[in-house]
Every structure is written in C-alpha cells, then in structure tokens.
Amino acid sequence: MKPALPVLLACLSLVGRVALAQSGSLIVPATIEAGSAFSIQCGGSGQATLYISGPGQLIKRDVQLGGSTWFPAGSLGNAGHYVVFLSSSSASESGSMDVLPAEKPADLTFIAKPSRLPVALHGAITGAVYVFDSYRNLINKPKSVSFELSNPSSPTQTHVVQTRYGAAWTQMDSSPHEGKDQFVARVENVSSTRIVSQVPGDPCSLKMYAKPAGKKVQLQTDPVRDCSGNAVPDGTIVTFTESYDNSKSTVDVPLKRGVASIEMPAHPGATLSVASGVVLGNQIRWNQ
C-alpha cells in the first residue's frame, strides 16, 4: 500500500485545485455596459495574473489575490462574451462575463438608395440603418428610428420604425417635384443625412405646332413636361416624322430650353407626327 500514498496525495492536491476553481473565489460581474468601470474580486493570497479574453479584446493584468481589481471606465469597450482566467502558481480559475452595448446611440450607418431617381415613384427610395454606441457596438435593444424625406416644395414624409437586431429600414415615395431631397435618419439625438436627387420623369404628353418657313415647314413642340408638371431635361430626344407619297423621313432632335424645333421639307398633303420615347404626340396634316 505504501506506493499508493504519494499517488493519493497527488490526487488530493489535484482535487484541491479543482475545488479552488469552483470555490467562487473569483467573482466576476455577469454583465457590464461597454466602457463602464468594473471590478473583479480574486480570493486567496499572493500574486496572480488575470486575463480577460475574447475575440473583441484582451486584457492581462498582474493582480494581488485577496482583493478587488479595479478596471476604470473605458477598459472594456467592445461588446461581447469574455472568459476571465486567473492564474497563479498554485491555482487556476475561470469565469465569464458579457459586455453589453451602451444604451445611448452615438452613430448610425445609413444607406439610402438610389441617390438619383425620377419623380413620383411609389416606394422607390429605400433607407436602411444600423445603430451603434460610442464604441461602435451594434445596439441590439429596440430603438425608434425616424426616417424623414423632405424638400421645400413637397410635404415631408416621415416613417418611424423600431430597430430589430440593431437594424431598421423603410421605403419612401419620390416626391412629385424635381430637386434635391434631404433623407434623414434619426435615433434620439443622432442623425445622418443623405441627399436624393429627384429628376423629372418621362414626358407625359407632347404637343407640336407647325408654321411655314419659306419652302419648309417649321415644327416646334410646346414645353415638354412630365406628368407632375416638371420640365423634362434638355437633351431628351424628340422624334419628328414626316410621311408623304409612301415615303417617310425621321429626325431626332434634343430638347433645348424645354422645347424641340426642326424645319422639314414642306410637302403638301404630308402627315407630320411627333414622339418621345413611348409617348406619342399630335399629328398635323400639311396642306399648304
């Protein structure tokens, strides 16, 4: 039996270590808010090394056992799960703690799409936000996000959305009038602004008139507008067509100062028509 005694003592020593690890002499806060001060209590006596380890951060500190080790505000800013190891010459213990994002939003990631689009489209503008605290932790507790789309000539559209898992999104209509809209996302006193350019849509209708110009006929459109009354941008192509005696000639003319104008040969009995994109204008029969 004699040889068994050292083995037994060694086992008791091992049990002692395990018991110490489970004895609760290492007292770690279960949760703290990111960046807040905290302390860890280490029982026993002598010197040890304390490690707070997680993918988000690592802290290593020499500590005196038998007291509290104080970590000032800002020591642990990255939200996440941390394992706390206490290692001394005689024992090793571990615990764990969670660092939660701070309650107060400090930053937003705001993506608005598209940055340029035609007026008067339903649900065509989207905005998505992620809400962060001052340590760039995603705040996963629900927060109210206010989305506002405004310009001087249209009523402001406002949607209030609760974040879910730190994210929120919305859809807005583009306004009836061209211009640069401000798209603002706001959480508490934090906001982020994007500019959404709204440009006129396609022509709504086309009307032209004709008048003699020597041996030619001059064709000119009225100012071309979209269905919301915005002037269609210069450069938009307007197509004039003249049909006579089974022949047809077509001319593409860009809008200039809101109108398109062209001179075409004056053939008595010719049919003159105008179009832009899918929009057809009026027809004129030239009898002079």
């Binding site: 949760t31 090394t49 490690y51 380890s53 997680g54 993918p55 988000g56 951060q57 690592l58 802290i59 290593k60 990255n78 939200a79 996440g80 799960h81 394992v83 190891f85 290692s87 090793s92 213990e93 571990s94 764990s96 969670d98 939660l100 994002p101 993506i111 799409k113 649900g123 989207t126 905005g127 998505a128 992620y130 760039r136 932790n137 995603l138 996963n140 879910r164 898992y165 730190g166 994210a167 999104w169 859809q171």
Partner: protein, 174 residues
Amino acid sequence: MKSLNSLILAASFGASIAAIGADRPAVRTDQPVVRVEPSNLQGPRELQQQTAKAAIQDYLDSWAVLGSAMSQNQPELLEKDFIGEAQDKLAATIKQQQINGVRTVYQDKSHDVKIVFYSPDGLSIELTDTVQYDEQLFDHDKAIGSARVRTRYLVVLTPTEVRWRVRIFQAQPE
C-alpha cells in the same frame, strides 16, 4: 421567397449532415455541427436561397480564419473574411495578444444560424448564431486555461468582390 428551407440549406453543410446521414462520406471530426433555422425576414427584397447559402457558408468559413488568426497572432489572415469594424476590432485583439505574449485557440463546435435581416439595397445580411466554441488561452506557450463557451453572435455580412465578409461580429447574452 422570404423563408428559407432549413433542411435544404442544412444539407449544404457537410458537418451537420455527416452527423445525421450514414451514407455520406466521413468528415473531419472537429468540424462544427451546423443548423440553419428558417428565416423570417421582413423587407422588400427577396433573399434567394443561393445568396443565403453563400453568405452562411462564408460566415462559417470566417470562424476557421478567426481561429487561425488568433492562435497564430497573424492579423493579416483576417483580411480574407473580415472587413471594417469586425476586422479592426479582431486585429486590435491580436495586437493586444502579441504585446502580452498571449495567444488564444478558438474551436467552434456548433452553430445555430438564422438570417434576420436582408437590407433593401442588398448590401448587407444580418444573422444570429447561437454558437458553442472552446477557448484555450496560452501565455508564452504555457496553457493558462480553457472554457466551453455558448453565446449568441450578431453578425452583419457585406458582399465584396468574390465573397461575403463579416463586417460586424458581436456576441451578446442569449
């Protein structure tokens, strides 16, 4: 299609199926078990199954990269799978490990993944992952301790040239 067929998705991750189906080829025993829950997305954009599958696979791959980077103290390894905030924070941790002569071995054991948000612009996918992993800490190659961790990660992925990369990687209590 706003909900994903979890079974079909799970079938693409060999580790989980290997545990269930005997007719599959053997896989490494240290591969994590992966379970993908059906998504319940609210939003205007449909999440195609192929997109979801790619994002989840890239996310799972990122754990292997995280493990290598942390155990070898090589922050440059992170670049393949992490970007932005996540990469910066993980790289900072590795720098702290280097300064202190510490390295950490992370080995993921299981994942329970659920996609919770697909942004309307298609530029981000957010998922939750209830993960179990083993963490082992070494100080100048001396084993300090180990722990089995179970926690839930909030993860935001963004598309890059060829793969989804992790932009936000944050654990929170379940």
